[in-house]
Assembly symmetry: C2
Homo-oligomer: 253 residues x 2
């Protein structure tokens, strides 16, 4: 989720969490990272999301954030353990970066010769460490402007995606980068707001009741979360950058 | 807390959390980091611990861990914000490191020229980044053996403590390092276990009922948590290393 004002994710998370063991087979752990200012709240659990008391807490406690990344895991590489749950967090350039990956990489064995090392055993954490290592190698100790960062990321994710499937999301709390290898789609919720109904749970919400006309929220997912909104599919190989609740035009990013 | 088997911290945390706004003045946020294998669960909140729904969850949900670091904040340097809540987490040598600081550093402005940068505005996070930067500068890309690590840390924390008060705890999930500038004490709970009564809340627990004779748990705090256990004070300037629920002899560490 990427928004122009801090927004709670209770509605979308409720549907999403059902996929962790009830309406889908992703039951090998889950996690969610919320930016709050420069800080991050990260909740990870190696229990299925449907059974997790921490997931229960998040459904009840409306944490407001402009950038949220959530993930439900089906173990492929790396066993079921806390250190293998997404999202992963590292610090680069004095900002936290939050990363989650859907898909599978094969024979991806980059050399990590810098300060970012994997703690767990997933292909995903390896890809994240490699991304940050290469960004630091290109731009040194200072964050580049967004267009430069986007161009570098586009090149790096393309190189990684050559090893398999690399649907991924990455955020530093100001922008959300989303790359589609095989499946990703998004919806932008903005004025005039409608009532949305979850695909995975019998629940609807009239967003007009809980928003102001200025609010704008982008939700990016592998599978649409609602049945009555118009989701836009990414093209395979596409990297989109979301800022303030909408995708930037490619020419501006 | 440092233990030889994964142990829940519900009892000690219940008393500790009372200090976040009820029995003490530390009400500017709190946090707790639990190692689970190589992974870390980190809960931080800029609300007072007594008012926090996340603290409520931890009191009810017995997360078991061999190394836990918790902190309740009274803001000195850095405003009340999530990014300024302890403990802080970074990765070095493919392990997560969890750090918390009690006290205040003045005119401490080291140059951070490596990969560890502060996200927030506290003297504490700066000290943590400096520690990791200097450890990496000394030992390169591979973790040294514990005696070498301990010697390097002893030197570094002494240098930092010269800038003020630096009671601190640091763990990589295998050992817990505790340094006393002005106040720190510990108790080792082991067979035969006794009943302990909290100082900050009307609550007792008979540890004999919830342990096996092999269990050993060290609790290290700035102020004793119980009224009827024998707490050992650190000497000012002392760095102790806890492994498997007990302090290592200085000659072994």
């Amino acid at each position: 989720m990427n928004c122009n004002v801090p927004t709670d994710i209770v509605f979308s998370f409720t549907g999403f969490a059902m996929r962790g063991g009830r309406t889908d087979i992703h039951h090998d752990g889950w996690g969610i990272g919320f930016f709050e200012g420069a800080g991050v709240r990260l909740f990870v659990d190696h229990q299925a999301a449907v059974a997790s008391p921490v997931a229960e807490l998040i459904k009840r406690y409306p944490i407001k954030s402009k950038n949220v990344i959530a993930h439900i895991r089906k173990a492929t590489h790396g066993h079921v353990a806390l250190e293998n749950c997404h999202p992963f967090v590292r610090e680069l350039w004095g900002r936290y970066w939050v990363f989650a990956h859907n898909g599978e990489l094969n024979d991806f064995n980059p050399t990590l010769n810098g300060p970012f090392r994997s703690v767990g055993g997933t292909d995903s954490e390896l890809a994240f460490c490699f991304l940050l290592q290469e960004l630091r190698a290109r731009f040194g100790d200072h964050a580049p402007a967004l267009p430069l960062l986007r161009a570098a990321l586009a090149e790096l994710v393309r190189a990684i995606a050559a090893y398999g499937s690399f649907n991924m999301m990455l955020s530093d709390g100001t922008a959300l980068f989303a790359h589609c290898s095989s499946k990703l789609c998004y919806v932008v919720r903005q004025h005039p707001f409608l009532t949305a109904s979850l695909s995975d749970e019998d629940m609807s919400v009239d967003f007009a009741q809980v928003t102001t006309p200025q609010d704008r929220v982008a939700i990016i997912v592998t599978e649409p979360l609602t049945t009555n909104e118009s989701w836009t599919s990414f093209a395979p190989g596409e990297l989109k950058v979301f800022v303030d609740g909408m995708p930037l035009e490619d020419s501006l990013a």
